[in-house]
């Protein structure tokens, strides 16, 4: 009986490790593919890549038990990842389908990779619970949504009355808010991993060094 339980535990351990590794790979692929695309085309110009490079360097260090610095690293890396998605949101990929053509923002494909990584990590059941310190950050997302949507609703009433202004742009803003929120949800638990933070920071550092060289 004990031997059976031990074998089952070993199998579960191996399964979790495989799931975790594959999830890690998917998340890393999302970052690398997005960085590669951003290097070649940047709808939003990066005026000073040196600033972002400095942010990347800060995330290369392992601060171990200094939780506040680790939290700052996670936020900096989340910001840098979201920058990539901001750029990709404005790029489109067309897929010919017979006589029609499906058009998706490039960020959609990167998000699929992040989602796959997130699902695999959840399946491995190894992500750490949200700490009390981070809980307020999650509430901050809700507050941000609430603030922007409430402003939109107030302004729609006034602007449609005076100028017949529609809500098309507001819907696009809400769409982009959901995109960044999804990036946050799918990547936040992965950013707990020191190795993921360091590798991602190295990728960003390489990207911004290349951009500095290209900019001259």
């Amino acid at each position: 009986m004990r031997k059976t339980v031990s074998i089952n535990d070993q199998r579960n351990g191996i399964t979790n490790t495989v799931l975790r590794s594959v999830g890690f790979t998917f998340n890393l692929m999302a970052v690398m593919v997005s960085s590669f695309a951003t290097f070649f085309t940047r709808p939003v110009p990066i005026e000073r890549p040196l600033i972002l490079l400095l942010g990347s360097f800060l995330c290369l260090f392992n601060f171990k038990k200094l939780w506040s610095l680790v939290l700052l690293q996670k936020i900096i890396l989340l910001y840098l990842i979201c920058i990539l998605f901001n750029q990709l949101l404005l790029l489109f990929v067309r897929i010919p389908l017979g006589q029609t053509c499906l058009t998706f923002p490039a960020s959609f494909w990167a998000l699929i990779l992040l989602l796959a990584g997130f699902v695999l990590i959840k399946a491995a059941k190894i992500d750490s619970p949200i700490t009390a310190r981070e809980r307020d950050l999650f509430i901050g997302w809700a507050a941000c949504f609430g603030l922007i949507v409430s402003h939109m609703m107030l302004l729609i009433m006034m602007l449609s009355k005076f100028y017949g202004y529609g809500y098309g742009h507001n819907l696009k803003v809400i769409k982009s808010l959901y995109l960044y929120f999804s990036v946050f949800i799918f990547s936040w638990s992965q950013l707990d991993s020191v190795h993921f933070r360091q590798i991602t920071a190295a990728v960003f550092a390489a990207l911004y060094i290349c951009l500095i060289i290209v900019k001259g």
Partner: protein
């Protein structure tokens, strides 16, 4: 050999901090009432005014002390919450997308110095109950000075000025935060004189307001005290203050209503277009469509916002400092900037509300007064941020004061460092 206990070391450091930092904090708070007067036209004074100099000085001193390692209480114990540093980090990173380097860097440096230096200064100064009391009285006097100067200039001298402030929006934000802080603190007192002075302060502040932002901020602070304050007498006094203020405003008539109504009305002077302020709000939301994370760079909203009016009219009637602070943070530093700013408010607001419910107003009357007043001021700051911004030079210091007082009261009473 006499060995000092940790408690003895802590006590001696508390006394040392009080003697050194309390006078500096007093100067910073008192000077904030005068805004940039009398050197308002000097660019150097606008940057290196007394409150900003106090923040810079304290940071330099504390860093030197930490480096020399001559104390067991380094700078880290008085630093603000990690949410403040997260907000500053996002501000720093968004400089990468700013069109103007000088403006974005100077804005971020100012923000960093006042947010961290101010928190360090007020945290070290508010080391015990006595020093916290002193700071509350100083803040009340500063509010009264501003309000008094404004009333004198507007009604006695019949000018359109707002005392020491050049802008009615900046003045509105300043008193919108400090008047609830001082007013609720005085109204929660047991002394009749202090209660009377609190009512006078609140009524005069309403009379001096020239903007809907000031009226809304003071009202929201008072209403939050009405809802959350556990002292029934204080709640009753808030209701009486609101009633007296309403009566005074009605008696003041057109002199008051004209300015506030001009600020509140939805139409421009041409009678056809919507107020430019609201069109500006929509432009800042539109900006998030393509620059949702990058933003425009801190302090650089003016470089980009015109591109996002689309088919809405640009009337060029927007007054200086008439800004929605929440949307501006989102537009300048992106969604993550707004989220980290909300995180600051949520953390300190949650701390304030927890203190209100955990502190017994009978057993710890002073602690409850401090907590109630600070919470009211935070609600007011959030409301003032809708019609102006707490980031303005001269207003940011009082916002930092409120955050620091919440943290100090929590440290002294809840964590038991007294």
């Amino acid at each position: 050999m006499i060995l000092k206990s940790d408690a003895d070391i802590a006590d001696s450091q508390t006394i040392w901090h009080q003697r050194l930092y309390l006078p500096i904090a007093a100067i910073a708070i008192a000077a904030s009432a005068f805004h940039f007067w009398p050197f308002g036209n000097s660019r150097i004074w606008r940057v290196l005014n007394l409150p900003n100099l106090a923040c810079i000085g304290v940071l330099v001193v504390q860093i030197l002390i930490s480096i020399s390692k001559k104390t067991n209480s380094p700078i880290s114990s008085s630093l603000p919450h990690v949410s403040v540093f997260a907000y500053l980090a996002v501000n720093f990173l968004s400089i990468a997308f700013a069109a103007g380097l000088f403006r974005s860097v100077s804005f971020t440096i100012k923000l960093s110095i006042v947010l961290t230096g101010g928190c360090v200064l007020f945290s070290l100064a508010a080391a015990n109950e006595r020093s916290i009391k002193t700071i509350y009285y100083l803040a009340t006097v500063a509010a009264a000075t501003s309000v008094g100067a404004c009333l004198f200039r507007r009604f006695a001298q019949a000018t359109s000025s707002f005392g020491f402030f050049e802008s009615l929006y900046k003045y509105g934000s300043y008193i919108g935060i400090l008047v609830p802080l001082g007013g609720i603190y005085l109204l929660s007192s047991r002394k009749t004189v202090e209660i009377f002075l609190g009512m006078v302060l609140i009524v005069c502040a309403y009379l001096s307001s020239g903007s809907i932002g000031a009226v809304a901020a003071i009202t929201s602070g008072l209403l939050s005290a009405l809802i959350f304050n556990r002292k029934r007498t204080a709640k009753l006094l808030v209701v009486i203050s609101l009633a007296l203020s309403t009566a005074a405003l009605l008696a003041a008539g057109p002199a008051f209503f004209k300015n506030v109504w001009d600020d509140f009305k939805l139409l421009e002077t041409d009678g056809k277009n919507l107020r430019q302020r609201y069109i500006e709000w929509q432009a800042e939301i539109n900006l998030l469509e393509s620059r949702g994370i990058t933003g425009t760079g801190p302090g650089c909203i003016n470089d980009y916002r015109s591109n996002f009016y689309y088919r809405l009219p640009k009337l060029n009637t927007l007054e200086a400092f008439d800004q929605n602070g929440w949307l501006t943070v989102a537009a300048e530093t992106g969604i993550l900037g707004l989220i980290t700013f909300c995180w600051i408010i949520i953390h300190y607001g949650g701390t304030a509300v927890t203190m209100i419910f955990n502190i017994d107003p009978v057993r710890e009357p002073f602690a409850h007064r401090f907590a109630a007043a600070a919470m009211a001021a935070l609600f007011s700051a959030c409301t003032a941020n809708l019609f102006s911004s707490v980031h303005y030079n001269g207003v940011l210091i009082v916002f930092v004061l409120v955050l620091s007082l919440i943290s100090a009261v929590n440290k002294v009473y809840i964590k038991g460092y007294r």
